[in-house]
Symmetry: D3
Subunit: 115 residues, 6 copies
Amino acid sequence: MADRLDQFRQFREKMNQRILDEGNLSINRFFSLDGKAYEPGSVDALTKEFAGLSASMVLRCDDCIAYHVIRAKELGASNEQLFEIFNVGLIIGGSIVIPHLRRAAALLDELDESK
Amino acid sequence: MADRLDQFRQFREKMNQRILDEGNLSINRFFSLDGKAYEPGSVDALTKEFAGLSASMVLRCDDCIAYHVIRAKELGASNEQLFEIFNVGLIIGGSIVIPHLRRAAALLDELDESK
Amino acid sequence: MADRLDQFRQFREKMNQRILDEGNLSINRFFSLDGKAYEPGSVDALTKEFAGLSASMVLRCDDCIAYHVIRAKELGASNEQLFEIFNVGLIIGGSIVIPHLRRAAALLDELDESK
Amino acid sequence: MADRLDQFRQFREKMNQRILDEGNLSINRFFSLDGKAYEPGSVDALTKEFAGLSASMVLRCDDCIAYHVIRAKELGASNEQLFEIFNVGLIIGGSIVIPHLRRAAALLDELDESK
Amino acid sequence: MADRLDQFRQFREKMNQRILDEGNLSINRFFSLDGKAYEPGSVDALTKEFAGLSASMVLRCDDCIAYHVIRAKELGASNEQLFEIFNVGLIIGGSIVIPHLRRAAALLDELDESK
Amino acid sequence: MADRLDQFRQFREKMNQRILDEGNLSINRFFSLDGKAYEPGSVDALTKEFAGLSASMVLRCDDCIAYHVIRAKELGASNEQLFEIFNVGLIIGGSIVIPHLRRAAALLDELDESK
């Protein structure tokens, strides 16, 4: 299980570097803006991760959901809190969110087991 | 300006009532779940509104954005905070979010003027 | 109220003709396929309208919803049946479908009044 | 081939149970509403599955498509009928539906072979 | 008719300025990246507008479609060329693109009349 | 790596044939329109592939992206050009496009290695 998580992280890191190395200035700047969007400001970092998580759920992007779940856990989110945000995503996005919710719940369990 | 906001609220109230009066039990239960999704629990009410707002922005639903902006302001959100959540929605959802961001900013100004 | 419905129909007819007159063969063929998709075959016409309606709801296309609601009523659908299909669209598509559900319910009432 | 189908069903069952066990009341109620949306009422069960199928196709959710195809077959739908509903989804949703149509057709053949 | 076009441009300009004046650094940088994405590079400016137009069509964003149609006309695109790109958007995005195609065709005629 | 690409092509060919053999006239005509949408006309073939690519990116369809990247390379597109179109898709569609951009960049490298 932990292998799948490692694979995801490694492909992510490797391809992000590959894309940055291409030297398309605009893409590189977008990647920088993407990273900064979740830094604390008037709104704290965990709240921004929750906002990113609900948006990723309704857009049904597994990789994005995984990223925000991992970050939220690192920032101290409990599973109970994550499920309340999952619920916001589920109510807004409907039953087509459910397959992604299943994979998000499986990821949560992998993260808890790998501690 | 305030007229447009009132019209939005009146149509919303009237048609919600019309739908509930139809007596489709499942739709009525969904409306109830929708209302409860933003009640405070392990996650506070404002954070849930922010999560609802970012999800509404990336799905580009003006009525939903308006609802969450109004609720977030009622719960004490500052414009600076709202713009940080707008930014999360913009980065995740891309430039197609911009027309909705324009209307959200116009709504913010209407709300500030009508105080 | 009936005026708004007439306006919708007139703009629709006028612009469909404008597009066909442009003479882009592929677009014209697509319009023809679009019309034929709802003709009865192994599946009857009303069931196809219901399938078109639920798909239009989850994609949140007001004009498409209006078209399929009008056609379904012409084919004998009751409001109770339409609300059951609205419910399928609502459960699959989530609360962002609600603003479109409000407008669909308002259209139903306009259609009933204009009889 | 039948293995892949079994895997899908097992992961689905296991994670649905995992999610229900978390005890988030709102998510559990939504799951219940989701199940009830396809029960017969004024509209029969198969028509509701067809409405769910076309909506799942245009939203391009493979797991949802698989679920509704399996249910429609259980309720007696012929492949000819399913392809007519696939066509409704294809015309409404466009060529981006095609990769999902390929997988839906492959699933149909798996289901026919496993009988 | 030209009034509607002017209104669109004025609201766009006014609200873009309003958003930039808010001083959210990340949003302002995103607006800058958005403008630069269509500047000529290895790919010429008109081709980038066509790529922006097809993407805007399949995402069904009327304001974005209007922007790219106007820019493409300024860069010398013929209506015949625009309809070929409309066709790409229609085939990829399906019949739900049609209401936006109608409005795009109406805009083309407004632009031709206002010359 | 080249194996994965071959597998994609083989499944695509096999299932397209399976679908055509079903004999649903409307689906078969749609497949024909889909193929013709990218033939040169007033707009050249490569520009149409770029328009198809940006639309596929914002709709986040990996198979569609792969198809248009392969076709664009066959028509002589450089990686620098492809990344400029990737950037258009990224700016319009936002950070949820990034997982697909990673896979598109990996595909580009596979194509370059298999030459």
